[in-house]
């Protein structure tokens, strides 16, 4: 193990280390593999050290061929060449099994890499393995994995959030500097918040969905979870781009989100880089359901925004409460259809000795899917059924349009919207299974963004107590921008992080055996 590599380093720092030849990409990969192998959060689903080290060796050869200064030339961004990343097990990979944390895909190996995986590999990143998540990304606490719940590195009794819980836990535990996630109703932002990390979900259509196992196709987006806004900016730029294999992919020029991240929002005093930035606080996000600790931490962060020159104003998103039922109609409807392909016929789990075709279908799916997935398939099948379609699906689509209009109207009066990510800090793992409805309601601040297809970011802004163990659990704040304004989100978060150190906090050692 190289002494120069320390846990909880961010990507930017590791990139500088590689460029200085402090350590090699292979040493970094081996270090990461060792951390992941010793993980105690249950965030790891698959490691293939040979494949990882093969990629690291190739990356190091590219690094060696470069003059040292060339590797650092991309300031304020940095080269991803030789840096490790791990993927949520929703992205298909050739060299690692892909299960979507479901028994129905146990041991499945894809013949191709997801576009996001392939793009990061093309940027020279070294894949360290596959990470746990809620089964088919359905859940808010990562308790719905066929391979067991993931523990929060800040408090092993707590959930890490979900559905990208393994991604957040692995980064928070200091195993790896960054991971990919997917966000259908908050699945990047909420675990980032609950694990004290920075994560961003881009505008719908920015990141290709090719190779991302579909949960709800019209809502799913990929994005990074990392330590800093700068790391997220560099990762997001590498992940996004038009892909002809995804018909919903946006045809945009590739954008370097890190390029102007240091620059002020507008011309103003040097110590107030966010001068002129109008930050809207939706009154519905600060209403009764919001926990006191979260409210306090978010309000303090907003005070910091003010100190950085931003002006705060109240805005309204009147359909916020309706986004829950709308989401929990549309997402299960799409899921019920998307998951029909898991039928035991061509791949994945097949029931033993089926009596006939119906028995093959019924038992393969009954044995292969977990309870939450079954619940959503049933809800989705119901709302699409003849006689109910108009009352549920069509109505939900109407609400979806209204939710999007609410955001449009709110952005008339502000540049960014800020608010909490979740009403509370992470709940306890043993509370999770009791009431699915409580879990759905906890998504209230994140769902609208997916319904409207907007970009949104989560970053750490404090801690709350949450349990009787005395361990603190992180609190996140959400920033929401108009369509395609990711660079503004990242810039605002970067200036906040340049002035604060919430993102530098690390949990007591638990995540890996030391």
């Amino acid at each position: 193990m190289s002494a120069a590599i320390t846990a909880f380093s961010d990507l930017s720092g590791l990139a500088a280390g590689l460029a200085r030849r402090d350590f090699s990409a292979e040493e970094l990969a081996q270090w990461t593999l060792d951390r992941l192998a010793a993980d105690r959060t249950n965030s790891v689903l698959a490691l293939q050290p040979e494949a990882t080290l093969r990629q690291a060796k190739a990356a190091q050869q590219r690094l060696d061929a470069m003059r040292p200064e060339a590797a650092q030339r991309e300031r304020p961004g940095f080269s991803l060449l030789g840096l490790p990343i791990a993927h949520k097990d929703i992205f298909v990979t050739r060299d690692w099994p892909t299960t979507a944390a479901s028994k129905i895909l146990q041991n499945y190996v894809s013949p191709f890499d997801a576009t996001v995986v392939q793009r990061l590999a093309a940027a020279g990143m070294v894949c360290a393995g596959k990470l746990n998540c809620d089964e088919f990304a359905m859940g808010s606490g990562n308790t719905h994995s066929a391979f067991g719940p993931v523990k929060n590195p800040w408090d092993p009794l707590a959930v890490p959030g979900g559905s990208s819980g393994g991604s957040a836990a692995a980064v928070a535990a200091g195993h790896i500097p960054a991971a990919t996630g997917t966000d259908t109703g908050g699945s990047i932002r909420q675990p980032s918040a609950m694990c004290g990390l920075t994560g961003i979900k881009p505008t719908y259509g920015r990141a290709s969905r090719w190779g991302m196992i579909a949960y709800a196709s019209s809502l799913d987006q990929a994005g990074p979870i990392a330590r800093t806004a700068l790391d997220c900016a560099v990762l997001l730029a590498a992940m996004c781009g038009f892909d002809a294999k995804d018909s919903t992919s946006l045809q945009l020029e590739e954008e370097n989100f890190a390029a102007k991240i240091n620059q002020p929002f507008a011309v103003g005093p040097a110590d107030a880089p966010l001068s002129g930035l109008r930050v809207g606080m939706p009154k519905e996000f600060f209403a009764d359901g919001l926990g006191a600790e979260v409210r306090s931490a978010v309000e303090q962060a907003l005070t910091e925004f003010k100190r950085l020159g931003a002006t705060l104003c109240e805005v309204s998103l009147p359909r916020t409460a309706l986004s829950i039922p709308a989401y929990y109609v549309i997402a299960p409807a799409e899921a019920s259809s998307n998951l029909s392909r898991f039928d035991g016929v061509r791949y994945g789990h097949r029931a033993a000795a089926p009596r006939d075709l119906l028995d093959l279908y019924c038992r393969s799916r009954a044995e292969g899917f977990g309870a939450e997935v079954k619940r959503r398939i049933l809800i989705g099948t119901f709302v699409l059924s003849h006689g109910y379609y108009d009352a549920y699906y069509i109505q939900a689509q109407r609400v979806r349009r209204l939710v999007a209009q609410d955001f449009d109207a709110a952005f008339q009066g502000c540049d960014l919207i800020a608010g909490p990510v979740a009403p509370t800090v992470a709940w306890n793992i043993d509370q999770a299974a009791s009431d699915p409805l409580q879990e759905y309601l906890a998504d209230i601040y994140t769902l609208g963004v997916n319904l409207a297809g907007l970009p949104a970011l989560s970053m750490p802004v404090g801690f709350g107590s949450g349990s009787s163990t005395g361990k603190l659990r992180p609190i996140g704040m959400q920033l929401i921008a108009p369509r395609l304004k990711e660079s503004l989100l990242l810039k605002a978060a970067h200036h906040f992080q340049s002035a604060t150190d919430w993102h530098r906090k690390t949990p007591e050692p638990f995540g890996a055996a030391q």
Binding site: L105, S247, L339, S340, V345, Y347
Partner: protein, 483 residues
């Protein structure tokens, strides 16, 4: 009681695109099982569909050909049901908004023209095939799945329930088949399933306004079967009602061996397909500029060609209809005309040959027009030799047979090899006439007694003696003048 049969057809037309509707796999027929199944067709985790614009272009061509409304924006929906040859667990199909609405197809029945109104034509993907027997690799009691066909683009063309006889339905199906091959969107191969028909059949007492309960007969892949299946199904429904029974709405299959239709599934077992717009595919936008571009590349359509054949070449309506029955027939006609232009070939003669010996020879040998054994150029050469009096019509037909058999390359080669030129020497013909008249005094008497039949017999005798090489008109005139 007299009954009226009501028929509407749903025709599944396989579009002639190089690749599938949502994947890059080839659509070529007959490959080894599952060798033309892309991972999109297999519905592997993480795959997504991408619309093949060529399939959309086919829908536009069809819309233009039938004068239908082409939707500038149409939606693909998911039709959800489980079946082993449907890998995704849903079929992507246009549901609420088809690419083409309305339009009509002209058919000809008993010498009259009828316009058959269309409801819609929508794009969708085909399923794979389940193979239950006949493959050694599949153990007994198991079924095989071949996904080569999965994702093949289809245009489903739905007619209004406006046909009133099995014959009319078959005529419509033929006309539609001819049209889709004419405009080049379908190869028309019935054996390979490129053109499959479902027939909705109901009966009602003549004069009644409301429709009776209908049954759908699935997957008819020959016009003969279609006609027969409808006849049998209508008869079954009539007998059922006359015996006091009631038709129940169901899907039926036609068994040509047993000459009956059999229930497949009733409406009660019908799936709830849970249609909803496919979130993986944006609306299909058919830009006006694209439609115009395709319009400018459209071939002359059968209707316009019929008019032109009648006006420009003075063909009768019937001849024009027959010549434009299929693209291959029309191409053959015009090729023969081109080749015969400098040889004084008459369009009417070409049409007659096509409808006569060409059609009957194809029919006899079970060939399609594309496989015609006498080329248009050969036919033009033959007609020229009849027109210029080198050979008679009768000898012409012998030459045709000889060309069909592939014995010679051209009519001229047959004529010179077999010495079939008409006798031009008037003295020689007069000599033959004299001989025949002398040898048949009885017939001569009969003719003189007013029997015209006797004249034909005498002409026949002379023709026989000349081995068919005399000009029959010349012989007739000579006999008349001599008697």
């Amino acid at each position: 009681m007299s009954w009226e049969i009501v028929i509407g057809l749903e025709c599944h037309v396989q579009l002639k695109t190089a690749s599938k509707i949502f994947s890059p796999a080839s659509t070529q027929f007959g490959a080894a099982p599952n060798t033309q199944a892309h991972m999109v067709d297999m519905a592997l985790p993480g795959v997504l569909p991408v619309m093949n614009r060529e399939a959309a272009a086919c829908a536009i061509r069809f819309g233009l050909a039938v004068g239908g409304q082409i939707a500038h924006r149409s939606i693909f929906a998911r039709k959800n049901y489980f079946y082993p040859d449907l890998p995704k667990g849903y079929q992507i199909s246009q549901y609420e908004t088809p690419a083409v609405s309305g339009g009509q197809v002209v058919i000809s029945i008993d010498g009259r023209q009828r316009h058959i109104e269309l409801t819609r034509a929508h794009l969708e993907e085909d399923a794979g095939k389940s193979i239950h027997e006949g493959i050694a690799a599949i153990p007994a009691g198991c079924s095989g799945i071949d996904l080569n066909r999965a994702g093949t683009p289809l245009l489903e063309i739905v007619s209004e329930p406006v046909m009133r006889s099995a014959k009319e339905a078959a005529a419509y199906a033929r006309a539609l088949h001819s049209l889709v091959t004419w405009i080049g969107i379908c190869d028309g191969n019935l054996q390979e399933g490129s053109f499959r028909v479902d027939a909705n059949v109901s009966v009602r007492p003549a004069g009644q306004q409301e429709f009776g309960t209908r049954c759908e007969i699935k997957n008819l892949n020959s016009f003969r079967f279609l006609e027969r299946a409808i006849e049998i199904e209508a008869q079954r429904q009539i007998e059922l009602i006359e015996d006091g029974g009631r038709v129940i709405q169901e899907t039926r299959l036609y068994d040509p061996d047993a000459e009956q239709t059999r229930a497949m599934r009733s409406k009660e077992d019908a799936h709830d397909y849970r249609y909803f717009p496919d979130p993986d595919l944006p609306p299909l936008i058919l830009e006006p500029a694209w439609i115009e571009e395709i319009q400018s590349q459209m071939p002359e359509l059968p209707g316009a060609m019929r008019t032109r054949l009648a006006e420009q070449f003075s063909l009768s309506d019937y001849d024009a209809l027959m010549v434009s029955a299929t693209r291959a027939t029309a191409d053959y006609f015009f090729q023969a005309l081109d080749a015969g232009r400098s040889l004084g070939v008459d369009p009417k003669a070409v049409a007659n040959w096509i409808m006569g010996d060409v059609a009957s020879s194809l029919n006899r040998d079970g060939l399609e027009f594309e496989q015609c054994r006498v080329s248009a150029v050969q036919l033009a050469g033959l007609i020229a030799r009849i027109a210029d009096g080198t050979v008679s019509n009768k000898i012409g037909r012998e030459i045709f047979s000889s060309l069909w058999a592939g014995e010679f390359d051209s009519a001229d080669a047959v004529i010179s090899a077999k010495g079939l030129q008409q006798i031009q020497d008037t003295g020689l013909i007069a000599q033959l006439v004299d001989e025949v008249l002398a040898a048949n005094p009885k017939m001569v008497e009969e003719f003189k007694g007013g029997k015209d039949k006797a004249l034909n017999a005498l002409v026949g005798q002379v023709m026989k003696k000349s081995q068919g090489k005399a000009n029959p008109q010349q012989v007739t005139d000579l006999i008349r003048s001599k008697l």
